[in-house]
Assembly symmetry: D2
Homo-oligomer: 293 residues x 4
């Protein structure tokens, strides 16, 4: 998809369930990669594949003409950018910075403003597709920012994803991402409510899932999550604590804008209930535990 001349010095900060496979795909595509993660051991696999491990976000930014961040939440990103040895101060004039974390649109706009002051071009580019999509290089990017910047970033996005949507100025990518996660969270919560109902009525959950899969309600996320709900096994693919956080960001945005979201608000409390009761890290499909903990 790109010539060797297109190979770039890429910095990657955040090596979790998503960041690691994204980094691996960047290395496979021939890019030079410098990485950093709060827990350094998470970099082992990428370092073994050729990535350089930096000592700080600042060092990553200084070594890169394309910075990518993929961290768990807004405070983590603020620390990476503006904390001690933060990345922002080292971003080079003319470089591109793409954040694929899920954060608030307002933080995305604040970052964009800080980048603009330094002559750095910023895209908010959260993704959907899960760790599975990250591994296969089939993520979907939701982009907020300048069209020309996106054009320049596309060859690199294309290594990690199969599709991207330019949705508007900075913040628009995050806005749509929050809306998308709201839909996914409610779909899974709806299936959980439906399963709770039929099983308490004495019907096997498998039967409901079978009907659902022949119906207009069938969706990719329900196909993937239904087995978790039926088995009660919730190995994290997309962790519940992150979905819970994203529902909070969606509700924050909605409450700033004066848009009432009754079902999202109800579902958030159900995820919250499970988060509060859980000892271990769980996939968000564990919302089912509200009914059978």
């Amino acid at each position: 998809m790109e010539s060797s001349a297109g190979r770039k010095k890429i910095g990657l900060i955040g090596l979790g369930l998503m960041g690691r496979p994204m980094g691996m795909n960047l290395i496979k595509a021939g890019h030079s990669l410098t990485v950093w993660n709060r827990t350094a051991s998470r970099a082992d696999e990428l370092v073994a594949a050729g990535a350089k491990l930096a000592k700080s976000p600042q060092e990553v930014a200084a070594a890169s003409d394309f910075l990518l961040t993929m961290v768990s939440d807004p405070p983590a990103l603020e620390e990476v950018l503006w904390g001690s040895n933060g990345a922002m101060q080292a971003l080079e004039h003319g470089s591109i910075y793409v954040d694929s974390s899920t954060i608030s649109p307002s933080l995305a706009r604040k970052i964009a403003a800080a980048c603009a002051e330094r002559g750095v071009r910023f895209l908010d580019a959260p993704v959907t597709g899960g760790d599975w999509g990250a591994k296969k290089g089939e993520l979907l990017f939701m982009i907020g920012g300048d069209a020309d910047t996106l054009k320049e970033a596309e060859p690199i996005l294309g290594v990690m994803g199969k599709k991207w949507f330019h949705l508007g100025p900075n913040g628009a990518g995050q806005t749509v991402k929050l809306a998308m996660n709201l839909i996914l969270a409610l779909q899974v919560d709806a299936l959980a409510e439906a399963l709770a109902l039929v099983t308490r009525a004495g019907i096997q959950g498998e039967k409901l899932v079978e009907v659902m899969q022949s119906s207009m309600a069938r969706s990719g996320v329900l196909d993937v999550k239904a087995p978790n709900l039926l088995k009660g096994e919730y190995v994290p693919s997309f962790p519940l604590r992150l979905m819970h956080k994203d529902l909070g960001l969606a509700l924050d945005l909605a409450n700033q804008l004066g848009v009432a979201l009754p079902a999202t608000a109800a579902a958030r409390e159900t995820y919250n209930y499970v988060k509060g009761a859980a000892k271990e890290d769980l996939d968000y499909s564990a919302v089912m535990r509200f009914w059978k903990s």
Copy 2:
């Protein structure tokens, strides 16, 4: 799927958006059809195609060895069965009665008991697939009742639908149907909340729908309803008043069983809000009017 010897005297009560095309398919398959509807004019098309129009539910039942009912709600069905000139008293020993209305599981069990006293075999057999599925003969039946009765009914169900699921004893079909509608109602409500959020944030709803259709959230119902939400046009396919009623039945069941359904309860009030404000009959995708009436 059946020999001409399999042609039966079928009675059909309830000639709404669903009942009319179901009846038409029964006629096309060569069955003798006797029909009744509270508003008699709704029978015109079927009568023109060869159906006999009875003067009462009782007369339909007396003329049939296979009775099918497809009415809008539990009170309508109770009236048809036990009201003046009701069908129940005329159902013949040995006949089969299939109800495809969406009602409470407890009413389904009450009907089953009344049928059993008369030596009538009863199936609760609500459907999903919409008026479109009814026209194409591609409904999906959710069956509660006896397996042998289902076996005998299958040739007739096969004229109207492409699939059926035997889910348990009487009431199980309705239980699963209510659970299915809960999922559909929440999917559409979730899309509406997401659209309300992004559009208030200044992003075109079409962009969210485009992303959704490339994502794991894509489902048949969202594909069909998204254009309604974007255009604000809500010609009834599945009327909001009926979806609202079904959410009420689901919550009734859940509250009898002691199963909390927070998101369903929240969504029901949103549908309720729109129902209370609407003057005309609307598709249930008009839940969007909660945000832009």
Copy 3:
């Protein structure tokens, strides 16, 4: 409050937490009382005090010129009125029938119509004040029905309660009662949510209650229920299953009328959760168990 000439033949059906003390006050006031209860042993105390125990609701009605019913829910009342040996058929022309159960306004209107056919005057007259108010004769009656009938009933109501409000035609008493219970249920649920929040934050619940009692939020119900919530002791005064039922009736009415009640709907599911998990009969303040079961 009334002369001996005012002493009446009163029938009382329903001898639960409320009915027994109401009956006792009627006896103390010198009325002749005939009683019936599904579980006959509940009548012992009243019989010892002079009440006659009838064999059926019908027998009670036949023996009375003023019938009072106080049962737990709409099905129980329908059974008492129209079940085998039901009371309705025996109500005398010219007699007065007062129902103090909490039922739907539509059932109240149905009863009123059935009474009118027999020349019986009917009041829906649900109460608030709890078993404590019933014992002290300090109930508050919410009345739907004819003003003249109320005038005639007042001497008897005055034996059991200290106040009555004439709220409109039949059904109006029940409508206001459901609205009142909605407020009470939400007040207690709100205190439970607040206590759950502060205690999880490490603050003693007693401190919140102390502040609440010095604030504009203080109310009679919160004073009475706060100790239950703090101690986790829920001896039934007003049983949770009945408050849960009343919230259901309020939501049924609201959904018939197209009035959205988001907070009531949310609270109902919380009460539902506790009802579903509880083995024993609990006061409705046990809604607190949603957080610490």
Copy 4:
């Protein structure tokens, strides 16, 4: 209540509906008062009564040995403390700083830590009682912080309020305040839902209020707000935008702690709906507009 020797140099930042009468009471008690407000004209009345108007929060802090802040929300307080010419840098070692704004417990703890570094003693001391309580000097303070500091602050608190509760270390005052506002918001929302129900059923709202005021549901806040709801007049006493913000802070805290608050979450969206639709500033009792806008 205190000798002239007790008169202090008090700084007051934030001169809204609450801050102005609080300042007036401080002046009446003989204290020397230096004030600042973002909109300077709001200081006129206090300046006329003898207060000095400072040019910045920093100048207020430098002129005071007791600083009081009373601003609308967390961002406003952060700006006052750490913005340009912020107060924090000028707080003197040994001085006392009391914040009566409603903010998050975590921000209260962050302020306490910043104060501790400077040798400043901090109390979080949000209030309840409304503008009416502020005028009468009858506020109720909810205190988080050190007991000795509270002892020293009491003479000044006593000028503005009649009661204070020491609830725990810094943050505890805010935690209890958020819990209290949750209860008040739900009480008023519950009354609004109840009024919406009865009026749609054809009963005058006044009748429900009359019953409520004779019942266990009666509370100070319902007495004060019921006339607003009945008349549809919502002159701000406690503005809806602030109650909405406080519900958001309560939900933020609850979601950090893993405590599900279903009714609060539902009510917050109802307030949000009204906030989004309102053009003007309204009292929070305008939540009633959800039903009759």
